[in-house]
C-alpha cells in the first residue's frame, strides 16, 4: 500500500501493466521522456524503455489510427489524448473504426485499445481545456466509457480497461488529479493523502468495469454522479443534511443499471449531476433509464444539474461549473416535491 493521488495511481496502473504484459505500450503527445503534461506517464519511459512509452506527433487521428492498427495486430495500446477537448480529429477513427471493428469483421479483428484523456473543468482552462465530451462516446455502440473519481478506482479501473477485449474511453477528471475538489473553489482543496481512497495497493489489482460504487449510503434521495461531481455531491449532501445516497457510476457504458435501480427503489428520488452541457448529455440517458426502470418508485420529478448549454467560458468558471450550491438546490427541490 502507498498513498497516491490520482496521477500517481494512474501511473502505477500503467507501470503494473507494462510490467505484466509485454504487449502493452503507451504513446501520445509528450508522454515519453517528459512524462506527459499532467505527469501521468512520468518515469515510465526510463523504467520500461523508449519502445514501450514514447512521444507521438501532434495528430490525434493518427494516434488513434495507429493504436487501432496495433490493437488489430494483437497489442494492447494505451494512448493519451492530451486534453479531451482535442479528441475531435480522432472522432472518426474512434466511431467508424475502433467501435465497429469487431462487429464489421464478425469478430475476425478486434480493437482492445485504451484511450486516456483528461477532461472537465474547474481549472480555468477556457473552452479548449475544460470540456466534458463523454456523451459523444456513450452514444456510440462498441466502445466503453469509464470515469474514475478517486485514486483507488482510477488504478483498478485503468487496469481493467487495459485488459478489456474492447476499446475503452478512459476520461480522467483532471480537477481532482491532486485532491478531491468539492466545488468550493474559494476554499483550499484537501490533498488526496487525507482521503481513505488514496490508499492504493502497489501492484496489480482491478476494479471491474460496468459496476458502480456507492460513495455515500443514504435513504432520502439518490444522486447519480461520476468524476469530480461525486465530490461535489458529497459536499452538497453534507451541507444540506439530506441523507443522500451518492452513486458513483464509474462506468458510463455499460452503466450499472442494477445499482441505480436498487438505490432509487430505496429512496424514491433522483438527482443527476454532470459537468457536461445538458442537452443530450449523459444525464438525459440516465433520466430515461430511471423513468423506464423506476417510474413507480419515484416520488418526485428527476432533477438534472449540469453545465449550461454554452461553450465553457473562461471568466465565468464558477458560474458555469455545477457547484455544491446548485446541487444542493436540486436536492432540496427533489425532497420538497
Amino acid at each position: 500500500m502507498a498513498t497516491m493521488n490520482m496521477i500517481q495511481a494512474l501511473n502505477s496502473a500503467m507501470d503494473a501493466m507494462l510490467t505484466k504484459n509485454a504487449d502493452v505500450l503507451i504513446f501520445g503527445e509528450d508522454v515519453g521522456y517528459f512524462g506527459g503534461v499532467f505527469r501521468a506517464t512520468d518515469g515510465l519511459q526510463k523504467k520500461h524503455g523508449r519502445q514501450r512509452c514514447f512521444d507521438s506527433p501532434i495528430g490525434e487521428a493518427g494516434i488513434v489510427a495507429t493504436a487501432i492498427g496495433m490493437a488489430a495486430y494483437g497489442l494492447k495500446p494505451v494512448i493519451e489524448i492530451q486534453f479531451a477537448d482535442y479528441i475531435y480529429p480522432a472522432y472518426d477513427q474512434i466511431v467508424s473504426a475502433a467501435a465497429r471493428l469487431r462487429y464489421r469483421s464478425a469478430g475476425d479483428f478486434t480493437c482492445p485499445l485504451t484511450l486516456r484523456s483528461p477532461y472537465g473543468g474547474g481549472i480555468f482552462g477556457g473552452q479548449t481545456h475544460s470540456q466534458s465530451p463523454e456523451a459523444l462516446f456513450t452514444h456510440v455502440c462498441g466502445i466503453k466509457t469509464v470515469i474514475p473519481s478517486n485514486p483507488y478506482d482510477a488504478k483498478g479501473l485503468l487496469i481493467s480497461a487495459i485488459e478489456d477485449a474492447d476499446p475503452v474511453m478512459f476520461f480522467e477528471p483532471k480537477r481532482i488529479y491532486n485532491g478531491p475538489f468539492d466545488g468550493h473553489h474559494d476554499k483550499p482543496v484537501q490533498p488526496w493523502s487525507k482521503h481513505p481512497l488514496s490508499d492504493v495497493p502497489d501492484g496489480y489489482y482491478t476494479v471491474p468495469l460496468g459496476k458502480a460504487g456507492i460513495a455515500r449510503e443514504g435513504n432520502d434521495l439518490t444522486v447519480l454522479a461520476y468524476g469530480t461531481m461525486v465530490h461535489v455531491a458529497l459536499a452538497a449532501a453534507q451541507e444540506t443534511g439530506i441523507d443522500a445516497e451518492i452513486v458513483d457510476l464509474r462506468t458510463l457504458i455499460p452503466v450499472d443499471i442494477e445499482t441505480i435501480t436498487q438505490s432509487i427503489e430505496k429512496t424514491g428520488r433522483c438527482v443527476i449531476v454532470h459537468e457536461a452541457t445538458r442537452t443530450s448529455g449523459f444525464g438525459a440517458e440516465l433520466t430515461a433509464l430511471v423513468q423506464e426502470n423506476c417510474f413507480y418508485h419515484l416520488e418526485a420529478p428527476i432533477e438534472r444539474v449540469t453545465g449550461w448549454d454554452t461553450p465553457y467560458p473562461h471568466a465565468f468558471e464558477w458560474q458555469y461549473f455545477p457547484g455544491p450550491d446548485r446541487v444542493a438546490d436540486a436536492m432540496r427541490r427533489a425532497m420538497e416535491a
Binding site: 489510427a65 495507429t66 487501432i68 472518426d92 473504426a97 475476425d108 466503453k144
Partner: protein, 410 residues
C-alpha cells in the same frame, strides 16, 4: 479601388466531358526501361525524379526493358495472368448479379487488376494488407474461397460477415486482408499502426496498404505519411491513381499541380510512380519497397498510374461525366492484354491457350456462383439468424443490448 487585377477562383476541370473526343496526348509516357533503379537505402529526396516520372518495364514491343525488369519465372507470370483474368471475370459475374437484383451494390476493378494481383505476388503470403475497396485481386491471388467472397456480396446465410457489411467490404484475418470500411483513408493510418506493431514485436511481417487518388485529400492520408516516416514503419503506402473518384477527376484531389507520389518525398519517404497497368513494373516496385521495409529502412510511397475503366460502382453511370470511350483511349493499355502479349512474345502462351483459360475460369466462377446462390441472395430470405445482429458489438453482450434483443423477441 486599388489598381490590381481582381482575384479569381480556380476550379479544376477535366479535359474531356461527355461528347468530347478523349485525347491523352498530354500524358508523358516514358519509354519502358528508361527510369533508373536506385539502391533500396536511397534518400527520399533522391527519388524526386522517380516520383514525377513513370517506371515502366513492358514496352510497346511486349518485351521487358531496363533495370526494373524483375526477371520473373514463367509460372509466376502465368499465375498472375490467371489471377487477373479471374478477378475480371468474377467482377463481371457479380456486376451482372447486382443488375439481376441479387445484391444491392457492387464495385469492379476493371483495368486495375495488375495492382492487387502483382502486389500479392511480390509480397509474402503472411504480409498484412490494408486494402481499400478495389483490391479484390488480393483475395483471389491469396486463394480466399470464391464462394465465400460471393456469399459476402449476397449477404446470405453463409456470409462470413453475417450480413453486416455492404457487398465487397470483405475481411479475412487468415488471408492477411483487413476489414474494409466505407469511411475512406482511415485504414491508411491504421496500416501504419499494424506495421509499427510488427516492428515493435520484432516480427518479420510487413504491411501494404492502398488508397485512391480521391481520398488522398483526407487528413488520415497525410497523418499516415507523418507517422510512417517518424517511426520508419515497415509499410508500403500505395496510391491507386485511377483518374476518377466517382465523378471527380484527379485534379479535384490535387493531382494537377503535382503527382500523388510526390506527396511522399516531402514527408521524407522514398516515392515511386509506376505504370499501374504494367504487371511486371508493379511487381518490381513492390518488391523494392518490400525489401526496404524488411531491411528496417521504413516506408515507401508508390503511386500506381492507372485508369478506372468502368464506373465507380453499380450506382453511377460514367458516361454522365466523362466520354464513354475514354477508357479505350487510355495510353497505358490494359494490364491483362499487356501481360498476355508479353507471354506470347516469349513464345510461352497463345491466343488459343488464353481463350481456353478464359473459358475454364468462367466455368469455375459459374460453378462457385451456383453454390453461393444455393445459400441465398440478398432479399431471398436466406439470412444468418437475426439474433446475430446483436452479437459482436462487444465481446460480452452488455445488459442493454441483451434487453433490446429480447424486446425484438429473438
Amino acid at each position: 479601388m486599388k489598381n490590381r487585377a481582381p482575384l479569381s477562383l480556380h476550379i479544376p476541370e477535366p479535359k474531356h466531358r461527355p461528347g468530347d473526343r478523349p485525347d491523352f496526348s498530354d500524358i508523358k509516357v516514358p519509354k519502358a526501361g528508361e527510369m533508373r533503379r536506385p539502391d533500396i537505402n536511397v534518400a527520399a529526396k533522391d527519388t524526386l525524379d522517380l516520383a514525377y516520372s513513370l517506371i515502366r518495364v513492358l514496352g510497346e514491343d511486349n518485351e521487358v526493358h531496363g533495370p526494373w525488369a524483375p526477371m520473373l519465372d514463367l509460372e509466376l507470370m502465368k499465375r498472375g495472368l490467371r489471377n487477373m483474368m479471374t478477378t475480371r471475370i468474377y467482377d463481371d459475374r457479380m456486376y451482372r448479379a447486382q443488375r439481376q437484383g441479387k445484391t444491392s451494390f457492387y464495385m469492379k476493378c476493371t483495368g486495375e487488376e495488375a495492382i492487387a494481383v502483382a502486389q500479392a505476388a511480390a509480397l509474402d503470403a503472411e504480409d498484412m494488407c490494408f486494402p481499400t475497396y478495389r483490391q479484390q485481386g488480393l483475395l483471389i491471388a491469396r486463394g480466399y474461397p470464391m464462394v465465400d467472397m460471393m456469399c459476402q456480396v449476397y449477404s446470405n446465410e453463409r456470409d462470413p460477415l453475417k450480413g453486416r457489411q455492404l457487398p465487397i467490404m470483405y475481411s479475412s484475418k487468415k488471408h492477411g486482408f483487413f476489414s474494409i470500411a466505407g469511411n475512406l483513408a482511415m485504414h491508411f493510418a491504421q496500416a501504419v499502426g499494424w506495421a509499427m506493431a510488427s516492428a515493435y514485436k520484432n516480427d518479420d511481417r510487413i504491411v501494404s496498404t492502398w488508397i485512391g487518388d480521391g481520398s488522398t485529400a483526407e487528413g488520415d492520408f497525410h497523418t499516415a505519411l507523418v507517422f510512417a516516416a517518424v517511426y520508419r514503419a515497415p509499410v508500403i503506402l500505395n496510391i491507386v491513381n485511377n483518374q476518377w473518384a466517382i465523378s471527380s477527376y484527379q485534379g479535384i484531389a490535387g493531382g494537377e499541380e503535382s503527382t500523388f507520389a510526390a506527396r511522399g518525398v516531402g514527408h521524407g519517404i522514398p516515392s515511386l510512380r509506376v505504370d499501374g497497368n504494367d504487371f511486371l513494373a508493379v511487381y518490381a516496385v513492390t518488391k523494392w519497397a518490400a525489401d526496404r521495409a524488411r531491411a528496417n529502412l521504413g516506408p515507401t510511397v508508390i503511386e500506381h498510374f492507372t485508369y478506372r475503366a468502368e464506373g465507380h460502382s453499380t450506382s453511377d453511370d460514367p458516361s454522365r461525366y466523362r466520354p464513354a470511350d475514354e477508357a479505350k483511349a487510355w495510353p497505358l493499355g490494359d494490364p491483362i492484354d499487356r501481360l498476355k502479349k508479353h507471354l506470347i512474345a516469349l513464345g510461352k502462351w497463345s491466343d488459343a491457350e488464353h481463350t481456353a483459360l478464359e473459358k475454364e475460369i468462367d466455368e469455375q466462377i459459374r460453378a462457385a456462383q451456383k453454390e453461393a446462390e444455393s445459400h441465398g441472395t440478398l432479399g431471398s430470405g436466406k439470412l444468418p439468424s437475426v439474433k446475430t445482429m446483436f452479437e459482436d458489438v462487444y465481446k460480452e453482450m452488455p445488459w442493454h443490448i441483451r434487453r433490446q434483443r429480447q424486446e425484438m423477441g429473438v
